[in-house]
């Protein structure tokens, strides 16, 4: 007899809003099938979670069940032989990675990345999966705060070395990927295009074959669709730079928003993988095989994440004129004032409940629905208010002690966020120094010079 396990009819709901006010960024990696999305995520997590005491100043964490899956995939990716993660069959848009920053008394959670993994075939095959699945992916792309565009280094290498059919496959793959990157912001026209980083995966294959980042960049820029994407973003960049000049604002990372970096990434590092003819379903085929006992030296795994946050913050600030910012701040102050005022009034009624026994039960009953909305700020305001009335005995010393604790936590939180941003910016600067050829817009400029300004 078979053991049957009942499952819920519908997919599980998104993680419940548990009052977590840590900022979250939705990130989607847009890449063709087998471009390396799943391996990149698993190795990224393992790389950035395994060393909390590193000089990086942060580490990643996730929930237990997610960690088990990511660790298993990463272990598989790092093991010798030809086994890689199984191809992905379901859109998974609930991947939550949290940045932890060490503070006195323990790590502080300062930022969440909400990541989406999915079958890359959806980009090129409108019959793969089903309608709901493809719609889930479209939704994730439309809502993304930042995008990684994944270019398959293996397809690029094949195009470099094989020509003909391999070049057509590389072009087709790139065209589909660019189309989705471009469609994302078009869905929500009111929003600015989210920051974009181009990641060339399996970079070790290209390095081992003697190719440089400049060559890879030029190959990308030679593709008409890729150039079109850069031109669209370049316009945005120019506008932003004009805004910046008007505002005379200093940037965190020194780059304009909309700046597209080409980041070569390898999850295992140079020399770890060799192309070997293997039996593939009875047909001799050249496959990527991981060498036995090889020391793994991942390349730039942490750079894409480090690049999106400064870019996103830059973009948010650049999109806000000083007047808009002032209006937003005024609105926030007014909302806080109203919330606190209402809180005081409700809590005032609750306080009366303790002295006016005659009406106590009724007042308590009426206040019950608001119990969950009472905030620390309301309590503080109430304390200050009650201090003016002798009949309510509130200890001023205890109130002051509580205020001090709150102030300290607030300062630490600000420091942690600031430290994280500085760490990101420093890492991106180091990458830009170490990898000549990272600037896609520079590649576009060179291409235009070489083609006397034609075809853009």
């Amino acid at each position: 007899m078979t053991d049957l396990v009942a499952q819920p009819a519908s997919p599980p709901a998104a993680p419940a809003d548990d009052g977590d006010d840590t900022p979250a960024f939705k990130v989607v990696a847009i890449g063709d099938g087998a471009a390396g999305k799943t391996n990149f995520l698993a190795m990224l997590y393992q790389h950035l979670s395994g060393d909390p005491d590193s000089e990086r100043g942060y580490h990643l964490s996730t929930d237990m069940e997610r960690r088990i899956v990511l660790d298993r995939q990463a272990d598989q990716a790092a093991s010798p032989g030809m086994e890689w993660a199984q191809s992905t069959e379901w859109v998974d848009d609930h991947i939550k990675l949290s940045f932890q920053v060490p503070l006195v008394g323990g790590p502080a959670e300062v930022l969440h990345i909400l990541y989406t993994d999915y079958p890359g075939e959806y980009l090129r095959d409108d019959t793969a999966g089903n309608k709901e699945q493809r719609e889930s992916l479209r939704q994730a792309i439309a809502e993304a705060d930042a995008m990684f565009m994944l270019v398959d280094g293996e397809r690029m290498l094949n195009a470099f070395q094989g020509g003909g059919e391999h070049e057509r496959e590389f072009s087709a793959s790139l065209r589909a990927t660019v189309a989705e990157v471009q469609r994302g912001p078009a869905v929500h026209r009111s929003r600015a295009a989210p920051p974009l980083q181009v990641i060339i995966t399996k970079w070790d294959l290209l390095v081992d074959a003697g190719f440089t980042l400049e060559q890879a960049r030029d190959a990308l820029v030679r593709e008409k669709n890729f150039r079109g994407m850069l031109v669209a973003r370049d316009k945005k960049t120019t506008q932003d730079e004009q805004k910046d000049r008007r505002k005379k604002r200093n940037r965190v990372a020194g780059s304009a928003p909309g700046r597209v970096r080409i980041i070569p990434v390898s999850v295992l590092g140079p020399g770890a993988v060799e192309l070997v003819v293997q039996d593939l379903n009875g047909v001799p085929t050249e496959m990527r095989v991981k060498r036995e006992g090889f020391l793994h030296r991942p390349i730039n795994l942490d750079v894409p994440l480090a690049a999106i946050l400064p870019d996103r913050l830059d973009q948010i600030l650049a999109d806000m004129s000083p007047q808009m910012r002032q209006r937003a701040e005024r609105r926030a102050r007014w909302a806080r004032f109203r919330a606190n005022h209402q809180g005081v009034r409700r809590l005032g009624g609750q306080a009366l409940e303790t002295t006016q026994e005659m009406w106590g039960g009724l007042v308590g009953m009426m206040l019950l629905p608001w119990a969950g909305k009472i905030t620390q700020a309301m309590l503080d305001l109430l304390s200050q208010h009650l201090l003016q009335h002798d009949e309510f005995a509130v200890d001023p010393a205890a109130a002051e002690a509580r205020a001090q604790v709150l102030r300290r936590i607030g300062n630490q939180s600000t420091q942690a966020r600031s430290a994280l941003l500085e760490g990101f910016a420093a890492r991106v600067r180091r990458f830009e120094q170490d990898f000549s050829g990272w600037d896609a817009q520079e590649g576009l400029k060179l291409w235009r010079q070489g083609n006397q300004g034609g075809a853009s």
Partner: protein, 196 residues
Amino acid sequence: MNPPVPTLSAWPFLVTRGILLGYRVVIAPEFLVSAGDAGAVYASARTEPGLSTTGPITQVVKAANGEPLTLIHRRLPAAVDDLGAVPLRDRHGRPFPLIEGYALRGAHEDVLVTDEQWRELHRFVLSGYRRYLAGESQGPLLIPSREHSLNAPATPPVRPAPAPRPSPLPGFGITMVALVIVGAGVVAVLLVLLLR
């Protein structure tokens, strides 16, 4: 003479990928195929951390017309040989599973699938999958499946009767409304006094 064993109508399905093409519904119940809704059984491919995919799973989903469907399915590694010793791989060298099962119209619990019925399903699915692979380079093939019979549960599932709701006392609602109105007025006066 033994009484006839009650049966349920069930349609085989298969969700998997090919060597070239990505995951999709390869075999689907003919009534879903003719309705253009074969994708309804793709829900069997759902994976997420903490969700077991090893044993047979029963899942109730909705077809596009709102009709509930019960999917009873399991995952097996796709293999070059039928015994599963040599994994089948996609063109990038990655292994993948076959998600095979039965679809039943309506919501059902405790449907029995015998070992023999799983074996029969697997034989049917493999024969369809071979046809799919043979023509994959020409494009995806969707194979409709015909009705099979599964054993109905020996005893219908027993659902606990819903607990009777206590009937409100006569006049309770009116009393509460009056209390709230009076209370609100009093509280308003008290709050004005407090905040003065």
